[in-house]
């Protein structure tokens, strides 16, 4: 405990997004961990009363544990900055860059990070140019299996792995139900890993890569949030060299996107051992089946201690 240790932490969880349920789970877990550290924690679903509440209660730190739009797109974080409330996690601009997958891919690609070939398309493109024409062009350019995902969103919602070009239209429709822009990305066949990055004030540190092996073969929403549906290996069963390259990639992505405190970078390692950046999450899941707390535990950190250190970092930076 030091002068930057918050007495009160407000966790914002829930919100209105497709990932509300995941956010509520994450928020409760953070609250439990911080309370175990002796911190007074309030858990709140953000609504029209939020700013009046902030003014009245003046928490030392806010932790926006909101997944999905509103929480990760930077909007709420920008407002927290406006009202000078210290908060855990990336600032608005960086959140916005990471939240939009095509933007994040373009930025890390420019910084020399390998990422699968992809194209982002609005639904209007299909309407204006003719769906068949566009689908044919995609299939011609991205041969082999592809992954179709909403350009914004998380928890694998709206994501489809397309092995047969005949199924591409259906996958596009599925993605557009979540967001008006979809990303079609070359599927990398290999080992799926995530690298969690934590920065409590001394610079970003990559935790050991976690390998994800869903029983169904696809790390779907169900595979993420039903305990037992996925096996996680920590550290990942890859060579030390590949693990080091993946960790470097995560730090590079975290830094390039300007992320702060906490992030999770999802990576595919192909058969030749080359890691490919898929996406970065500014508010990784912190539920009972999430990777981040698991990676912390395996690294020998107490989860509550680590979360408290993040809160302390937020306070310290606000006073700098």
């Amino acid at each position: 405990m030091d002068e930057f240790t918050p007495r009160t932490v407000l966790i914002l969880a829930g919100g209105i997004s497709h990932e509300r349920d995941v956010s509520l789970r994450s928020g409760r877990r953070i609250a439990d961990s911080l309370r175990a550290q002796g911190i007074s924690v309030e858990l709140r679903d953000p609504d029209a009363t939020l700013f009046a509440y902030l003014e009245a209660s003046q928490p030392d730190v806010v932790w926006p544990a909101l997944h999905g739009a509103g929480g990760e797109d930077g909007s709420l974080r920008g407002l927290l900055d406006f009202v000078n409330v210290p908060f855990v996690g990336s600032r608005a601009a960086a959140s916005r860059l990471a939240w939009d997958k095509p933007t994040a891919k373009a930025l890390v690609d420019r910084a020399g990070v390998t990422t699968p070939r992809a194209i982002a398309l609005s639904r209007d493109t299909f309407r204006d140019l003719g769906a068949v024409n566009v689908l044919d062009r995609i299939s011609a350019e991205l041969s082999g299996p592809v992954v179709v995902k909403p350009a914004q969103g998380g928890s694998a919602q709206g994501v489809t792995i397309v092995d047969d070009p005949e199924d591409l239209a259906s996958a596009m429709v599925h993605a557009y139900r979540y967001w008006d822009v979809a990303l079609v990305e070359q599927k990398i066949v290999g080992t799926e890993i995530s690298v969690c990055v934590i920065d409590t004030g001394d610079g970003p540190v990559a935790l050991a890569p976690v390998e994800i092996e869903p029983i169904s073969g696809f790390y779907s929403f169900e595979a993420r949030y039903n305990a037992g549906e996925t096996r996680f290996y920590t550290p990942a069963r890859v060579s030390d060299e590949v693990a080091a390259r993946a960790s470097e990639m995560a730090i590079a992505a975290h830094s390039t996107l300007g992320l702060r405190h906490i992030s999770r970078v999802d990576i595919m390692v192909d058969g030749a051992g080359t890691p490919f950046f898929l996406e970065a999450s500014v508010m990784p899941g912190l539920t009972e089946t999430s990777l981040f707390p698991r990676a912390l535990e395996v690294a020998g950190h107490d989860v509550g201690w680590a979360y408290l250190a993040l809160c302390q970092a937020a306070v310290r930076e606000s006073r700098a």
Partner: protein
């Protein structure tokens, strides 16, 4: 499996060390994305036409508080104690009075009070079903019943219905087909009055005919009737249990006519079955809540409960009218049922639409409904949805239908964009039986 196994590189986990230990019957018990999407329905900005929550705010709080005070004052120690596995005799007497309103005569000895009628449903299924046994149920059927039936590994065989309820000829054919396949049919589960989710009511003539069919084929009837007293225009036909005693188990509930928070329902069963139900009830919960039973008995004894049911009818009638007129205004080309009671309208969408797939769009539009597939054990109902009018007020219902219209139009527009790419966009398009299609409503304005 240990929680954290060692591997050559470190450790592995599945976050559930008991994953391989669960019983086979739990296979369907998992968190799904659809379930997670429903989480937004609890936000006040979202119009939920999904849940079947009674509008308990129409119940004057003083009626409840005065009952609770009297219970504590006059019977506190008994009300707070364990009780009989069959329920208190006083409440069972009152239940007979309630059932008499729907033509049912029974003995107080044959009533078993349960923790909501949902528990009665579970107990009856536990008593009769071995894995692979067949339960006949309407198409569609109550989602909560399908969940119970699955948990006992029953095979649910849906039987077609139309605007007059279950179709007797379809029932005959289903029984014939199942018997020819060597299946063992244990009972027919039916909600004959103000069906959940379809909203329709089985005619008196069909009640007679269906009971006759079941009698001839040695099939027990499980009649679930939580909504029967909540009619809007004219009283529905008397309960099937009023016609047949030995072949019908009747399930009733206080959840819709009083309040679901008390969790009190009941079963009226033939003597032999009743004995087993009591034992099963004791095994499951020892006894239903004494306090809730005392509170409801007091409420029934000292308040104008029939007048209160009248008040509920008025609220729900007005909300039904709001929903029907709003559907007529915004979605005149669709088809839906016109309920004369209960909580639900069953909406049929164009065959290319899949109501479950549309849910993410509905979340964005701040409206929630229950996809039709929830009410089928066999994957049917893709282009159907259940709309509940019980909880939101008239203005909110109208807002909800406007938003739903936007969801439907948005989905149609998206599918049209990809229509030229072939019939792949919604996966398999189900064959919709005409029996699922109800008549367009009359002008309901």
């Amino acid at each position: 499996m240990a929680p954290h196994e060692s591997t050559s590189g470190g450790s592995s986990t599945r976050f559930d060390p008991w994953y391989d230990h669960y019983a086979h019957r739990t296979a369907g018990l998992s968190a799904s994305e659809v379930r997670a999407l429903f989480a937004v329905a609890s936000r006040p900005e979202v119009v939920s036409l999904a849940g079947g929550m009674p509008y308990v705010s129409a119940l004057p709080p003083e009626l409840v508080t005065s009952s609770l005070e009297r219970v504590m004052r006059d019977s506190g120690p008994t009300a707070l104690q364990y009780g009989s596995g069959q329920g208190t005799p006083e409440l069972r007497e009152r239940i007979l009075e309630i059932m008499a309103l729907e033509g049912i005569r029974g003995s107080v000895d044959d009533v078993v009070v349960t923790t909501g009628s949902q528990q009665a449903l579970d107990l009856v299924t536990k008593l009769f079903i071995d894995p692979g046994d067949v339960i006949l149920a309407e198409a569609p059927s109550y989602v909560g019943a399908i969940g119970v039936f699955r948990s006992y590994q029953a095979e649910v065989a849906h039987v077609l219905m139309d605007e007059d309820g279950l179709i007797p000829q379809a029932l005959r054919e289903a029984i014939e087909r199942l018997k020819a396949a060597g299946k063992r049919i244990k009972f027919l589960y039916t909600i004959p009055t103000f069906h959940n989710p379809a909203g329709v009511t089985l005619t008196w003539e069909r009640r007679l005919e269906i009971l006759e069919i079941c009698r001839a084929n040695d099939i027990l009837v499980l009649e679930d009737n939580p909504y029967g007293l909540l009619y809007f225009d004219t009283p529905p036909p008397h309960a099937m249990r009023s016609i047949e005693e030995d072949g019908v188990i009747y399930l009733g509930s206080f959840s819709k006519t009083f309040a679901p928070g008390f969790r009190v329902g009941w079963a009226l069963a033939p003597h032999a079955i009743r004995e087993k139900l009591i034992l099963a009830n004791e095994s499951a919960t020892l006894c239903p809540s004494s306090f809730s039973q005392f509170a409801i008995t007091e409420y029934l004894a000292t308040s104008d409960w029939k007048g209160q049911i009248d008040a509920f009818r008025g609220v729900y009638r007005s909300r039904r009218d709001a929903m029907l007129s709003s559907l007529q205004e915004h979605l005149p080309e669709m088809e839906w049922t016109v309920p004369n009671g209960g909580f639900y309208v069953w909406l049929q969408l164009p065959p290319t639409l899949d109501s479950k797939e549309m849910l993410p769009r509905a979340v964005k539009e701040l409206v929630a409904y229950t996809p039709g597939t929830a009410f089928y054990a066999d994957g049917g109902g893709r282009n159907m949805m259940r709309l509940s009018f019980c909880y939101p007020n008239e203005e909110t219902i109208r807002t909800g239908i406007r938003r739903l219209t936007s969801v439907i139009n948005g989905e149609l527009e998206l599918l049209n964009t990809f229509a030229s790419s072939g019939p792949v966009v919604t996966g398999q398009i189900p064959v919709i039986s005409p029996a699922h299609v109800t008549s367009p409503p009359p002008n309901t304005n």
